[in-house]
Amino acid sequence: MSSSYPNPRALTLPLRDLVRGVRQHAGPAASIVSHALEALPGPLRHVVEDITPFDPKGAGLSGPPSPAAVAGAAAAMQGADMSATEMAGCAGFAISVLLAEAEQPDLLVSETILAMCWHDAETAPHRAAAMVQAMIKRAPYGVAPGMMNAPRPDETLALRVYIGAVLWLLTEPGDANTPEEELVRIAGWLGAGSLDACQAALHDPAALEAILRDVAERI
């Protein structure tokens, strides 16, 4: 029996965000009913499981983007073209890894807002700096509406996450030795070490861009 639940990847961005939000609500519900589900006969259990799919990644984003997309994002940071959807997927992946690392996996990442951030940044002369500034302005992750127990996002964490995500976007793709999740974590750790310098240069795009590129080269 197949589920009529829509595949988020098949939807346009706002709907994908919406479905991830619904799934986030469904996650705790699924864990609450999981013991009861064991008592149900197979076919019925599968129907209920399909209604309340539990996504261990919380925000519901899929795994790492393809190597071509990662390479494309790095090139786009240098001035090449990239669709907003692809950039949003890459940036969303990085943010979700960094949020999980900060033990905040339940915060919802919006690819729609990330696409808007890229629209802001791609026309700017300093794209990496502009992407950080756009994310600060638009806040692409947060608590899903109606989530009562979720922690409130804090601003220092947000800046750390945005800088880490942009550092990863700037760097060249990983390989068998260093998968993308680890590169994102490395970017987050190195970004945390340059947080003060980035903060001081937040209103100077050229200076911020130079810092970001310098740190990204170390990844």
Partner: protein
């Protein structure tokens, strides 16, 4: 033990550049831990955020004094590896599970310190071999437990002394007065009086 750094060969860059990239630094350090665990029977756990802090600090310290190295590149390799040791000792990214038995060897007396020194020596030796076609002669002090006692005790007081101890372990004359400063003239004076790395045949 520089063979354990084979992961660095997967990069298309020379070791001296590869080791300055966090991704290669972390993966080679992780491989090195596995090698030391196998050789010594120690169980070592790695805190990667601390390792990255050590890497970040080392990179900044390395860059800050690099300008002095233009005419003294060989000497700067040892000094830079000493800076790396200083940051590893300062941040302590590795923890050894306490083990029973005798602690009369450097690897068992201070497993974390032994790992850090071995890693930094391996990086130094790999760079010297690749860039200068030299093999480095290590000093007998490396196996001298009294030197390790002194090393451990002194770096607790002043972590900069790790650089001096590294120079000693590497067979060079340590700069005890200002170990954190690269002083190439001082090294030049010593060149005629101490054993030098030998040319590869």
């Amino acid at each position: 033990m520089k063979e354990a750094l084979h992961v660095l060969e997967k990069s298309n860059m020379p070791v001296r550049k590869t080791i300055r990239r966090a991704r290669w630094f972390v993966s080679s350090f992780r491989d090195f831990i596995a090698e030391v665990e196998q050789d010594t029977g120690q169980v070592l756990s790695l805190d990667e955020p601390k390792l990255l802090q050590a890497f970040g600090n080392w990179f900044r310290a390395f860059e800050a004094q690099k300008y002095k190295a233009q005419e003294h590149r060989l000497e700067y390799v040892t000094f830079a590896a000493g800076l790396m040791l200083r940051e590893l000792v300062r941040h302590g990214p590795v923890t050894a599970t306490p083990s029973q038995g005798s602690h009369d060897q450097p690897a068992t007396f201070w497993p974390e310190g032994y790992l850090y020194v071995s890693f930094c020596l391996a990086v130094r030796d790999a760079v010297i071999e690749q860039d200068f076609s030299l093999t480095a002669d290590t000093a007998p002090k490396l196996g001298d437990l009294r030197a390790w006692w002194s090393f451990r005790e002194n770096v607790e007081e002043d972590v900069n002394l790790a650089i001096g101890f590294f120079e000693e372990f590497a067979g060079e004359t340590p700069n005890w007065t200002m170990p954190g400063q690269f002083l190439p003239q001082r090294i030049e004076k010593q060149l005629g009086t101490k054993p030098q790395p030998r040319k590869l045949t």
